[in-house]
Amino acid sequence: MAEHALVTEGLTKAFGGFTAVRGVDFVVRRHAIHALIGPNGAGKTTFFNLLTKVHTPTGGRILYEGTDITHESSAAIARRGIVRSFQISATFPHMSVRDNVRVALQRRLGTQYWFWRSIRSLSVLDDRAMALLTDVGLADYAETNAADLSYGRKRTLEIATTLALDPPLLLLDEPTQGMALDDVDRIKRLIRRIAVGRTILMVEHNMSVVADLCDTITVLQRGEILAEGSYEAVSADPGVKAAYLGGGHA
């Protein structure tokens, strides 16, 4: 096994003339909870989009467990075990909460192309789906359409769906953004619990969440790494202070 779950070397993305991510050398230790922070527009979401091939890098390499995945497709990367959540909550709105989770579970079943079989063949996944929903506290909403959930619950559902794939590496893009305080606490506890035996890389603006959860923090500014280290080290960094005072609250 490689020493690090994820490594990027000189990762770069230019949109036309504008470079959103510039030569990022970055390492995530296995089983770490690693935070990626930085002012708005720093390139955090773009960085995630590069890791999951929503965007193709214009330079550099991405290694997952020592394997170069720079040229793999989005879906192939997900099948390797790198699964992300989105900054804007991503559910299947017209499907029930249970079916949302079941869609993720279905991949393991290997019947995703079976158009001749009855949908009832998927009911073998119901127990597992309900267990996951119970785990995140959504069991009561199993039959609700995802579109009808509150914002906080949509994001929780997204995490449950992500967990259904049991991914070794989770990428969470601002999991607590726009949430009420209760919800933030719930998500925080959830992340701590699911982090066991997994690697988590998360973009997070809520510093209390970062301080409580994350062992390593990387600060991104204008597409480049500004500082890296523990919460204490990073928050004491003069460059980071300047960036945050100048760049508005992160």
Partner: protein
């Protein structure tokens, strides 16, 4: 029994007695509705359950018709001529679907639709140019042959065979929608980026859906060629491709029975208003405008929406909880 099955059985029951009441409704008319209804169901599989707009569906309907018709003209006397020609027609449509879908699937939204349109024009061009399609004349006097020893030249026999073919095709579409594959299609329609991030190669799902849809459109086309013993350029024309959009939207996109109702309405109007000539197009156009302005979900879609709304309002009353629990199934119908 689900609502879908109940409604389906009622429809089939009604269709079974049609040949006994020729004064009330013509069997030929019902056969036409079945052909176009299945055609619209095929289209709806893409638009309603996958989220793809295709303007190429006439190319599938027509190419299957031409292949089935041409083979029947040559081998119609053979005892296995009809099933072989029918199967070849469906296969041809699937192949054309694979070619068109394969080229278009990487494009999104309107670009996808425009590519299907451009490629279907090539099929039309080929139908005009190739000799065995009969050019402007099309294929006429296609023999119906026989199936399992039943002589299909009898209109009544043909009627029941068409009904059986229609029922099988319709149930197949329903199965695809309610299959493990259909579940992923719905996910792709709802949120493609999320489906990708869960590890699904969404383009492959869309392409398979496209090919299945093309094959069913071809199935309807082969049926139609046998029923009317005629295939013409109209079957591969853009006009037919847009007509199926209209039928589907009118009846209710993404509903199981909407496309059938839409097809029945459009075919009915064309038949009963035939005396006013080209004005039929205007009348149908007006109905369409009214529909998209006031019944955006289509007739069946609005009906289901209303029922669900009413069920939800009754949610607080415990007596009605059973009704509400059924609501998702109704939606799926």
């Amino acid at each position: 029994m689900s609502n879908t099955v109940k409604i389906f059985l009622v429809l089939i029951g009604l269709a079974l007695v049609v040949p006994f009441v020729p004064g009330l409704i013509y069997p030929v008319f019902v056969m036409k509705v079945m052909c176009y209804g299945l055609f619209a169901c095929a289209f709806n599989l893409l638009l309603g359950f996958t989220g793809l707009v295709s303007f190429a569906h006439a190319a599938f309907l027509g190419s299957a018709g031409y292949v089935t018709g041409a083979l029947m003209i040559r081998f119609g006397n053979h005892p296995l001529g009809m099933p072989a020609a029918f199967g070849a027609g469906v296969a041809a449509a699937a192949l054309v679907g694979f070619a068109i879908g394969g080229l278009a699937i990487r494009r999104r939204g309107i670009y996808f639709a425009m590519i299907t349109l451009a490629l279907s024009q090539i099929v039309y061009f080929l139908a005009v140019q190739i000799r065995w399609t009969g050019g402007e004349d099309g294929l006429q006097g296609i023999p119906r042959g026989s199936l399992f020893g039943l002589d299909l030249s009898s209109d009544t026999v043909m009627y029941y065979v068409t009904l059986a073919l229609f029922a099988a095709g319709f149930l197949f579409v329903d199965r695809v929608v309610h299959s493990p594959f259909g579940q992923i299609l719905q996910a792709v329609r709802d949120n493609e980026a999320r489906a990708t991030s869960l590890g699904y190669d969404t383009d492959r799902f869309k392409l398979l859906a496209f090919v299945i849809s093309a094959a069913i459109a071809g199935y309807a086309g082969a049926m139609k060629a046998l029923v009317f013993q005629l295939v013409s350029l109209n079957d591969v024309s853009l006009h037919t491709s847009t007509e199926v959009v209209l039928m589907t939207l009118l009846g209710g996109v993404g509903t199981i029975f909407g496309p059938l109702l839409g097809a029945g309405l459009v075919v009915g109007l064309q038949n009963y208003l035939a005396t006013i000539g080209d004005l039929v197009t205007v009348v149908i156009g007006l109905i369409f405008i009214v529909c998209v302005s006031f019944f955006r979900r289509g007739i069946v879609g609005e009906f289901l929406h209303l029922r669900r709304r009413r069920a939800e309002r009754g949610k607080t009353r415990p007596v009605l909880t059973a009704t509400r629990a059924e609501a998702p199934a109704v939606e799926a119908a």
